[in-house]
Symmetry: D2
Subunit: 406 residues, 4 copies
């Protein structure tokens, strides 16, 4: 990607930027640019006083952390696309920006070509933003499209996604939802000023989805997407999670196919907005990096407005979700976590239970991520104003009673 960017910059004279040095890992690899441009020593760049912007594009979070923090401490502006590193260290990175008075921009880290971070910064003041929900990982969306719409099998679809170059080098980061969590963690800061470590965000990926889930979705007229979302609750808290979700044919997320990303933002003034574009791959990433470089020209920096100028927002675990739990048989389903069951169905392959559960049931357990279990959010998602029906002690009894329709 460094090479790609080099070429693009060469053809964008208006940026008034020049690439002085490119730090690479493998010196032997043949490259399509002057040899003197390359080094394997990052320090050569970090210590060079002539260099005032570091663009960090490497696929190694630890190395990236070292480069970015060193650069910021050295007073150099930084552009990074490393969502994993940024998500893991955002609080520190914000502090470094302030202390050294240098900007760190990372539009490429979320949905690549979709300018979602900058728009959140500029457009939505947090007391007006109802929610944000999006397909932020192109690789899993590609696999879902191939598997659930075009009938491919999972392994083939994953291999294709890797061959096309929009899967992470470790595909389990995509497939298990980790990559989406990293992005959501960053978005949460810009959307709501909420800082949550990625590891603490409730999530799962597409790894446990079953072909019967696709059949079930089709019968209901739904698609299945891996959706990262954050939503301001009526009580002021912020709900945030990454889960597979049924989407109706009317939803704009339904139109997002293959490696594309799409983000819906709802706010009281702008009502509903939808941004769509390529979220993975070298060129779309270069596009975002370029726009960051361009913004540096007028000293643009993220203001983290919701963090700095508002009363702090808190991530909340206190809300209800409408979900569909898919597993082999009812007994496997730890139904005691459901507050009420609205609908269920089963055949010889698979059982689907639709009901309402408290979010803490997902926070406090791994039951819903076990092999053979998939949990899919219903189109309604968060259910505000829900009056719980459950009497804790009798939960299991009541569940069976509901089941048999007493």
């Amino acid at each position: 990607m460094g090479e790609g960017l080099y070429k693009v910059l060469a053809h964008t004279p208006t940026l008034n930027a020049r690439i002085k040095k490119v730090c690479i890992r493998h010196a032997q690899k043949k490259r399509d640019a002057p040899a003197e441009l390359f080094t394997t020593e990052a320090a050569l760049l970090l210590d060079d006083p002539e260099i005032n912007v570091i663009v960090e594009l490497i696929d190694d979070a630890d190395a990236a952390y070292h480069i970015v923090t060193t650069a910021l401490r050295g007073g150099k502006a930084v552009v990074s696309a490393n969502k994993k590193m940024i998500a893991a260290n955002l609080t520190e990175l914000i502090r470094l920006q302030e202390r050294h008075n240098v900007p760190l921009l990372y539009e490429a880290a979320c949905c690549a070509s979709i300018p979602v971070i900058r728009n959140l910064e500029e457009y939505y003041d947090n007391d007006l933003l109802h929610g944000i929900s999006g397909i932020v990982n192109g690789s899993t969306n590609y696999i879902l499209t191939k598997v659930f719409e075009e009938g491919a099998d999972f392994a083939t679809a994953l291999a294709q996604a890797q061959a096309e170059g929009f899967a992470e080098s470790d595909p389990s980061l995509d497939v298990n939802g980790i990559d989406a969590v990293n992005k959501l963690s960053i978005l949460l800061n810009h959307a709501y000023g909420v800082t949550v470590a990625p590891g603490r965000i409730v999530h799962t990926g597409i790894q446990n989805l079953h072909e019967e889930d696709a059949r079930y979705a089709r019968e209901k007229g739904y698609g299945i997407k891996l959706v990262a979302q954050a939503r301001k609750l009526e009580d002021g808290g912020v709900a945030a999670f990454v889960l597979p979700q049924f989407v109706t044919e009317q939803s704009q997320l339904h139109t997002v196919k293959n490696e594309y990303n799409g983000v819906i933002i709802e706010s009281s003034l702008a009502d509903k907005q939808f941004f769509y574009g390529k979220g993975a791959g070298g060129f779309p990433t270069a596009s975002a990096v370029l726009s960051d470089l361009s913004a540096l020209r007028y000293n643009y920096r993220y203001e983290y407005k919701k963090l700095n100028y508002h009363a702090p927002q808190e991530a909340s675990d206190d809300f209800y979700l409408k979900v569909c739990l898919s597993c082999k048989g009812l007994l496997q389903a730890p139904h005691e976590y459901f507050d009420c069951v609205l609908e269920w169905s089963s055949n010889e392959q698979r059982c689907h239970i639709t009901g309402i559960l408290h979010f803490s049931a997902l926070v406090n357990g791994q039951w819903w991520k076990q092999p053979g279990v998939s949990l899919i959010l219903c189109p309604e998602g968060i259910v505000e104003g829900y009056v719980p029906r459950k009497i804790a002690a009798d939960a299991e009894v009541e569940f069976v009673e509901q089941l048999v329709g007493v």
Copy 2:
């Protein structure tokens, strides 16, 4: 209808038939034909030696029985459309035809304008006929179309069917499946030489169908029809019943809308055939009566071939059906009658259990006809070669175990 037929005959000189007298119930009613044609005394016709054909079209099974049997005994050919009377007395009516050597024709009694009886007589030898299944009651099909395809409510649809004139004077005969049973009873004789009293044919109508059944069918891509069917089993017996059935979009029965009837006949030589036409109303009935009158000209009579020339066929209760049971909650469903459960689903309104049960479970009980319970045949219908899974004593336990997926 008598008047209608009078007019048609007047314009069909080739029949070489003349109406001498029309026996009516209400002398005062104004009629559109010469007054001397009418009488309220049936005996005037039955005793008239000049009259050699009696056409019986009255809506009173007892009176019809008297007229038809008296006429046959008096050596007069008879054309009748009274399916209820014929179904109830077919054995005797066959004997009277033989003893007095006069024909009784009743094409109008089954599907009116569709020549199904004559085709069964002429075309299918019983060892070749795999099965016959049809929509034979226009009134219920009209209601199903209005309610499940056009969103009308049941009462309105029934009133419309009556206003249009294709509901029986007692609509419960249509709605509860009695009319379809009468027709199936007649068809069974001509298709398989099987004589079963209508009262002994397993049946239900559309009276218990629930709007959730329509929702369930739509999700599966099915329609719902009231289907009368008879099928030769592998062991040589004949299965016969009238039940609501899910039909796939590929089935020709799916194309039968409103008051139309449609019959599918499957046989080893002709493969699949489908006959479609109006099965109710004055003109289609007149059409069938007319063709019977025409056939009398060359002394056509039903040969009851399968009854007379073949080893007697027996109605069988020993087979399995794949059905969907719809009820309020699982506990209401007498699940002990199921041999196995393949699929079930439930929401807060309704529960659907799909499984396989032995036909005797329907013969020996009324549980599946109770208010609040509907039983709908799956598209597959009869399941031949099914190996029962049930251990009788543990039936209920096993059902619950299946349910919870042990």
Copy 3:
């Protein structure tokens, strides 16, 4: 087919029929029945006084004519499936039946397993029959299904039809509509008492249909079928022709796919009826032959009622059709035959002109059958009560004026 029938008869004891001899062409061919059953000498059968029924199933119209007429003259009943021979000689064959008082039955000659001839004989009196329209050639319907619905090319589809055994030995008889004409010619007799030599029935097949016609049909929501039809006109004449026709999705003919046949009969009493079944292949043909043999047991014979008992009906050429003419360019289209043009469209491949023309324009010319020209009947077909707009002398001028919208 002789062998197939032999086996079926052996398993149908109730027919009380025995095959004494089978006349074959190739003595050497190995057969699955006792050798003494076979002969290559037709005379052995025709002269045998013990044989009282001749079943003629050979694929040679001249030989069939000799056998059938000899048999009838010899007082033997005949069952034939040879539509070509029957259509060509129907008047003589009717006379022979009368003179020698023996029946000739040929249900298998029209739509094989669909009992259309017998139903026309029995059910519809000609003053009540509005029209009959049907897909009567399974081979062309198979090709149309493959080509226009499944995207096959014409040659492949034809080869498949032949491999499946439902194309005539000379496929051009199917493809050019000749086979359908032969069937329509026979049906015309039974439906309306109209005798027209097949050669005089206006017809074309599917040979000139263009892939742009399929595209055009799809855009309008139509299918394309080869339809044989006869219709009683308001002035009492009978219109009859075989033409490709656009059919709407609501038409039952639209549901007839592959080698199946389907016939719609409309009459004032029965309203609309539809018969559907296999119209080609050994077993469906055997099914019809078998039913004819069965009918011979009670001396059934066609009465040709409409011919014998009614005022003679006349085939009429005096009516208007709504058609779509498809050709390369407007100049190629002999537009002078149109009375008015309602719609036209054209692209670089093909031009479609929809308008109304007098039927005589098709009778008196071959222009509409030229290579590169296809004429497709619109769903409306015959337009009764049409007031011609054309002033003969100025026809062409007016056409162009219409074209350019003056």
Copy 4:
């Protein structure tokens, strides 16, 4: 809208902004804010040294011009939503910003809540931007949705659009495409650095669309949208126009219904992007104004990069379009403007000609805007690399020759 904004600002303390005075037109109108806030004297605001930002939201282009230019000259930053005034005076307004070193922001002027101007400024460098095409007028899109998708008539739909408040006070500005032209004129500056007076942009609206155009579109599987677009040509020029266009079901513009706006941006790096949101109405406009006010906090101003840092782009008239011309009859269609005709069709109401014409044919004439004529861009739009077929002198002859397929 002033009042709405007042309330929003009151609840957005982080902006650190205070409304000192609101200039209104009608002093008597009752308002929901302190009376001392209001004045009818604009000068009171413009001359107040304490006021450093003027927000101009009035529906009067001349008055707006006076206010905005006075404010800029007085060194006050300005936020405006007046697309008409801005489009008409953009060159002067850019010069005033430079001379007085104050920003003028107007995100609300294009697609209200969609941040299209800022994204064009920040994200796309003009040598990479292939094109931009969008539905930028909510009122006409609302009418098209109601009329062509929901079957309303034009007048009713227009009245509804006005009642809902997203039609201009003079609806002909929407309906005739003027409003879209004003927006395109502004976008052209930011996308390509091209300055064209709105009056010189080729455009039409939806005023001449005919219900037969909707029928035609439906048959082809298209929708009809009013699309403003600009595209970089292979020769380096920029094509720009506002025309109704057929859009395929695959196009994201097809999903934009009612008053929503949607913009597709295609570039070599980011590939395809799509932005969707409300483009009209008080709240979405307030949302955009608010974001402009927010941006003023860090001295954001439009850089007009493509104008200032690139070689000047030129609007080009030298390209070909694929269009469909709809009119009463061919003679009415000034077909001499077509270079070639690819497809045409006609019925008794309307004629549609699809072909390729040189854009200058639209620039130099009003023929295609006459009452009774509608011109609709085909989905392909601009046809690059087209080799003209026309021999100028024989144009008309050739057209007719094409028409008749010589």
